[in-house]
Amino acid sequence: MPTLHDLQSDFRRFLLGEAPEHLLRLVNGAGLEPAARLSIYRNNMLVTLTAALKATFPVVCRLVDDRFFDYAAHAFIQHSLPAGPCLSEYGDGFPDFLARFPPAASLEYLPDVARLEWAVSRVLRGPCPESSIPLESLASAQGDPARIRLSMVATSAYIASSHPLDRIWQLNQPGVASVEIVLEPTAVYLEIRGADRLQIIDLPAAVWTFRSRIADGATLGTAAAEALAIAPDFDLAAALAALFEANLVVGFL
């Protein structure tokens, strides 16, 4: 008789596509092949996890249609099971998976759309409300201002792409009629804000660089230098004021 641990190990292998003999022998067929009975669980798992991915990546699903999405999702699930119990946290590897998924190779924008949807999902799960701090708080910070690191709200994210992700996302929301349009490659620098109201804002490249580097934990000095490298006329004082006015800063790191 197998231990519970061994049985569950074999069951896991079955769920991922193998057919462990030990497990098949343990199942009472009673009018149905043991593998057919076990396959009901595998199918249920695929249905549940695919539905979870569709809930997180609805625009990707709409862009490729349900059948292709199911095909890609099943391949992803076999490759990457959830690492945690909450389904809304499942899918962080899906954009990179799509980038490496040969059947989706012709849809160059698809991984970036998935990245945007993952960011949307993440910011909507963020704490609400978060207490932001005012610009005046900087005055009380100790030491060299260039070395200050700011803590940004968890309900913001930054995605840059050479495809017009914001337009693609907007055109594929529920209730928007399907239209076939040609979107020219357009670089976008998106800030996604969540909490109680979702906003997707296309920022100037330098402002996006400044904000996203701060969000990554860079010092103000580094973030400003990288923004200035992109746009020599980058107005640091104005960018800093706007950052605080947008209630995006919650403290210091």
Binding site: M1, P2, T3, L4, H5, L7, Q8, S9, F11, R12, L15, R25, L26, V27, N28, A30, G31, L32, E33, P34, A36, R37, L38, I40, Y41, N44, M45, T48, L49, A51, A52, L81, P82, A83, G84, P85, C86, L87, S88, Y90, L124, R125, G126, P127, C128, G194, A195, D196
Partner: protein
């Protein structure tokens, strides 16, 4: 139903013996706007483990209705240890929402760090019973309250099982003091799929331990040459399940009963009509 939502309800309130509805995120705004005549709601705990706008909206619902918290991913039947981080999150959520019921499943859904998010079957063995008992005790200790454990929908039986599922549950109750969430649809589905007697199953459950009843729809599939029922929570409760619900109420008495509908979600009025039907059945007992 003529129960009106109270302004403030604490967990010390008597559990409403009237039917409730499984609440999905798509209906929360409508519930807050309409304040519909529903006795109580139940939510999946794992959908509210982030301190997000969704949880804030649920707290508004909770201020107006009794709430039951239904866990779907603690994996009580896993051979390994419980995920303490997840259990701590459940504890925080329960402390925040003050539910009148907390429930989980007789199943496992994770193994060695991988999560399958499906309710997977256990063998009915002494080792599995010890594992379940230990985990249920741990959960009850951390939460500081009794939980209900739900019977699974079954698609197979392991040859090395040494007892019946209902006996396993009764013994789990005896060893841990937990209550039972009797899912009548699951009993019906399992009876068809693994050829058990649903009436006998009900008779084996300790009636006093049953703290809640679930009702849901199932799909009918043909696998090989057999009809297999899939517990998919995507349709109205079937006639056969309504009949078995009458049997359950006859045996257990009136219990808080939930209409579960998680996929292909209909409008709120359809859910309310199913709940009203459950109320009619209960009044007819």
């Amino acid at each position: 139903m003529d129960v009106r939502p109270a302004d403030s309800i604490s967990s010390s309130s008597l559990a409403p013996a009237l039917p409730g509805i499984g609440l999905r995120a798509q209906h929360i705004k409508e519930v807050l706007a309409r304040r519909p005549d529903v006795a109580w709601f139940e939510v999946h705990a794992e959908n509210y483990m982030h301190d997000s706008a969704g949880l804030a909206a649920l707290e508004q619902v909770r201020a107006q209705y009794p709430l039951s918290l239904h866990g779907v991913a603690l994996s009580l039947g896993s051979a390994g240890p419980l995920d303490r981080r997840h259990l701590d999150r459940l504890k925080s959520l329960a402390d925040r929402l003050d539910p009148f019921l907390v429930s989980e499943h007789l199943a496992w859904s994770a193994h060695d760090g991988a999560h399958f998010n499906d309710l997977l079957p256990l063998p009915w063995t002494e080792e599995a019973l010890e594992t379940m008992s230990s985990h249920v005790n741990e959960v009850q200790d951390v939460l500081g309250r009794r939980i209900l454990v739900e019977n699974p929908s079954g698609y197979l039986r392991f040859r090395h099982s040494t007892m019946d599922e209902a006996f396993f549950l009764a013994e789990l109750v005896r060893r841990t003091g937990c209550g039972l969430l009797c899912d009548v649809n699951n009993i019906y589905v399992s009876a068809q799929n693994i050829e058990t007697d649903p009436i006998e199953y009900l008779a084996l459950l300790p009636a006093a331990a049953v703290g809640e009843i679930h009702l849901a729809g199932h799909a009918v599939k043909i696998v090989g040459n057999r009809t297999v029922l899939i517990d998919n929570h995507a349709s109205r409760v079937s006639d056969g399940v309504w009949a078995l619900y009458r049997e359950a109420l006859t045996r257990f008495g009136r219990r808080p009963t939930l209409i579960e509908w998680d996929a292909d979600l209909p409008d709120l009025d359809t859910l309310m009509s199913e709940a009203a039907k459950a109320g009619d059945v209960a009044r007819g007992i």
